[in-house]
Amino acid sequence: MKLIEALEIARRPVAESASKVRAFLACGFTPLHLQTFITGHLRALQEETRVEFSVGLFGDLCGSLERLDPSIVDLLVVVIEWSDIDPRLGLRTLGGWRPSDMVGILESAQTAVARLEQALTKAAGQIPATVVCMPSLPLPPMFSTRPLQAGLVEAELQHTVAGLAASASRLPGVRMLSAQRLAEASPPSDRYDVKSDVTTGFPYTLRHASVMGELLAELIRNRPPMKGLITDLDDTLWAGIVGEDGVEEISWHLDRKTQMHGVYQQFVASLAGAGILIGVASKNDASVVARAFERKDLLLSARDVFPIETHWSRKSESVRRILKTWNVGADSVVFVDDSPMEVAEVKAEFPAMECVVFPKDDNQGMLDLLKHLRDVFGKPSVTGDDKLRLDSIRSASAWRQDSIKSAGSFSEDALLRAAEGSLVFSLAREGDARSFELVNKTNQFNLNGKRFSEFEWRRTASNPAAFVLSVSYKDKYGPLGTIAVVVGAANGHTVEVSAWVMSCRAFSRRIEFHCLQYIFDRFAASEIVLDLQATDRNGVIVEFLDQLLDEPAEPNPRLAKASFLKKAPELPHQIEEVSVCEQR
């Protein structure tokens, strides 16, 4: 993006209804065009967001962070340069570069890093989102070694700054810009504009400022990851055609020149470990595929994959069944197959799905594909629920099959009792990452379809009466993880619920009744006021409330405890644990 474009985009009018983000750009140099580029790129990504930046004092990054009032900031952008670590590491301050000065520079760098770490820790605990860019400019020619030799002082400085990056990465809500990604997009030798630095205090070339602004804007936007990958097997997950070559002849190894298929396997396994759903769509004989998955040297376990669709029907049929099992939309899934024809067939059936031809004879192409997949599936952190996701879908599938088999033989009450379900209620002032994700992706059992920005979500705690209730469930089929979230506020004997979602995997287990029962009991409430808004997809919750309310559900219905108790069925699950904690 050129500077003039960034200026034009940044100055476009924003709708009054646009959500406002109060941002603080903390840097020790004049923010000038970097601020313009971040704003321009953010507006280009999120047209309907109004980001209003304030900035700190020139030359005092640590002080700007220490003085920051976190209650008036939704987003903190921290851009650190070497001159913030010690002014002598920039060209605007003349403090001496004699070898005898180096010990003092190192000591002052360690002090500055400790201050920055402390200030970041304090800010990250109170500001919804923080993005950080570590020094991106070259160190000046100050060391006694030749530029090609990294001497002890340079190595110690790099080590000190790397320590800050590692400790800041552990902080909640902090996202660190990848130095590797920045170097790919902005070569280090083209970043520094010495004339601009010396004359205006802005040290970046326009190109570097634009790239950094673009990447920081991406990091701020924090795009939700795609949910599932559907992969082919032959000449994709492994090299060879298992039905023709045999289970022992398929390969993914250096000596067979098929190593990149092994790399793909370990990559897919890493996605599975991070909670990305992995399914298989393969035209094959199911028993042959099952034997292939028994090979001990396969890097992707059969447990990482569900479901495995192996038959001779169209691939799009397999994809349809997998989407139904996962209950996710085509637009959040990537399909990978080595056959351009199969890819075209699936794409024709699911235009919203990203369908990719696996570049089986092209090592660089495969590496590029993995980088792309990392970009679409990457997430800021992996939660406990991520690790449970596939097991949870398996459990829900097993439950559905048992329910169908036993229909007519057992009553619903008996079936639910036999499931040996238990619920864990966790009540907090502020919801965790999984609750945030569930609220923002659930459509069917969703009180009003309201979506939260990261900033709004972490600000729910600012109301002293507010609570976020997250509910996890397990039964004899296995754990489903966190399956329901209620956001509300307790005022006397009335509880106002502003958001309530439940995963469709948890339907038909009366968990919704348990949620209401818990709220009535926990808050000694006599009524619950629900911010119900009908959407085009939440018929299931409207119908549920219709059963409970004396009048048909309409906006903001009030549910009295007496009425609830009269109409609630037997509640079958054990309440295993109730944790009530204050977060952060």
Binding site: L3, I4, L32, H33, L206
Partner: protein
């Protein structure tokens, strides 16, 4: 106005929002509404980015007006 002149005018209109073409053509930079050193530095960066012309603030102020810059660019073409 040729295409480059239009681009130049567009740079000024973007950096000094709310001003008209006539105001820009008829005024010294320092008299344009919103002029300050920050706008000056932004103008210099935009001229570099758009036209590859590098000037410092003293040169810009010496030229003084949009018309003078326009003439200088025409001579350089």
């Amino acid at each position: 106005m040729n295409n480059d002149d239009d681009r130049l005018m567009n740079c000024f209109l973007t950096i000094f929002p709310g001003t008209t073409r006539d105001e820009i053509k008829g005024s010294k930079f320092e008299d344009l509404p919103g002029w300050d050193s920050l706008r000056g530095v932004t103008l210099l960066a935009v001229l570099d980015d758009e036209f590859g012309v590098q000037m410092d603030m003293d040169e810009l102020l010496e030229l003084g007006t949009f018309d003078a810059i326009e003439r200088q660019f025409a001579r350089a073409r």
